[in-house]
C-alpha cells in the first residue's frame, strides 16, 4: 500500500511549527517545498544527491533546540547508506528522517532502483537508530513527528506512490535565495 507524495507533504505541512528546520533532498520534495504552507525554515537541495541526511544532521548538532526534519528519497539513501551508522552513533535526538520510498529515481526520469527488496527500516534499526518505523498512512505522520521530538534520531519510511505523470512543480528558488531565506528564518 502506497500513499501519494503530496498527501505525505500536506500532512507534514499541517504538523510543522515555526521552530522546525526542514531539509529536502534533490528532486520532487525540494521542488514542492517552496509551495507548501509552512512557516518553518526550509532548505531545498537542487543537487548533491545523498546529502540531505548529513546536511540535516549538521543542523541538528548546531541547533539542538530545534527539531530538524530531513526529507530524503530511497535512491539517495542507498547512495549514502553509511549515514545511518553515523546517525546511530551521534544520537542527535532532535533529528527526524522522512524517507520517501517509491523504488524509483524520480528526479532523473523515473528509472527503477536496483531490483531488490531492501529493508531500509531494518538497516536503520541495525544501525541503532532508536526510532525506525514504516508508516502506513498519511494520518500517522503527525503523531510520529511529534513523538520523535527529542527522542530521535528517528527514521520513518513513507511508502510512496510512484506516479510518472505527477505534476511536480519546477525548482522555483535559486541557491542564494534558498540559503538567505533559510538563514533569515533560523535567526
Amino acid at each position: 500500500m502506497t500513499v501519494p507524495r503530496k498527501a505525505w507533504l500536506d500532512a507534514l505541512a499541517a504538523t510543522l511549527d515555526a521552530q522546525a528546520l526542514v531539509v529536502a533532498g534533490l528532486g520532487a520534495n525540494a521542488r514542492y517545498l517552496p509551495h507548501l504552507p509552512i512557516k518553518a525554515a526550509h532548505f531545498a537541495m537542487c543537487d548533491a544527491m545523498g546529502a540531505a541526511i548529513p546536511l540535516a544532521l549538521g543542523m541538528a548538532l548546531a541547533r539542538p533546540d530545534r527539531q530538524v526534519i530531513s526529507l530524503e528519497g530511497d535512491g539517495s539513501l542507498l547512495m549514502n547508506l553509511g549515514t545511518l551508522a553515523t546517525l546511530g552513533a551521534t544520537g542527535a535526538r532532535n533529528l527526524t528522517i522522512l524517507l520517501f520510498d517509491n523504488r524509483h529515481y524520480e528526479s532523473s526520469g523515473g528509472q527503477e532502483l536496483p531490483r531488490v527488496e531492501v529493508d531500509l527500516v531494518a538497516i536503520a534499526r541495525a544501525a541503532r537508530v532508536p526510532i525506525a518505523e514504516r508508516l502506513a498512512a498519511a494520518a500517522a505522520l503527525a503523531p510520529a513527528v511529534a513523538g520523535a521530538r527529542n527522542a530521535g534520531p528517528a527514521f520513518y519510511l513513507l511508502p510512496t506512490l510512484f506516479d510518472p505523470h505527477e505534476p511536480i512543480p519546477p525548482y522555483s528558488e535559486r541557491p542564494d535565495e534558498i540559503r538567505l531565506n533559510f538563514a533569515r528564518r533560523v535567526a
Binding site: V23, A48, P54, L55, G58, M59, A60, N80, G82, A183
Partner: protein, 172 residues
Amino acid sequence: MADARPTTRHGARAIVQAFESAGVTLVPSVPDTWIGWLMEDMRRSTKLRVIDVTREEEAIAIACGAALCGTRAAVVIQNAGLLNSGAIVGSLVHLYRIPCLLLVSYRGDERDPTYYHVPKGRATEPTLDAWSIRYAKAEGAARIGEQIQRAIVWTEEARAPFALLFSAEDLA
C-alpha cells in the same frame, strides 16, 4: 619513514588551539593514520565535538549544515577522501556558497613518498585547482595555528571552501 609517529605534538596542539580560539565546535572526520594521531588531542578538548562519519561527503555535508545554522565546523579528512568529494563540493559547497574549512592529510607528496600514496599525492593539487578550491600547505607547528585562523576568515569572507594540506611533520 612517513608513518613514524612524531615524538612531539606541538603542531597537533596548535591545531586544536586554533580551532578552539576560532570558535569551531564541530569536527566531522574520517580517520587515517595521521588524523588518528591528531584526534587524540582533538578528543581531549572540551570545546570541540568530533563527529565520526563513514564517508567524506558526509563530513562535508555535516559541516555545511552547521554553517547554515551559524555554527563553525572544520572537516578533517585524508586526500583520498577529498578526491571522493567532488560532487558535494560542486553541488553543495560551491552551489550554495557555504564557508567550509577542509583540513586534509596530504599523503603522497614529497614529504610522504609512500608508493601507494603517490598517485593521490600527484592528483591532489591539480584536482583542487580544477575544483576551484583555494588551498595552502601547512608550514609546521609554529605556523599552522595562524594558517587555520586565516583560512577560517577566508572561507567566511569568500563564502567558499579552503583546504589546508598537512603532513605528519606538521603535527610534531
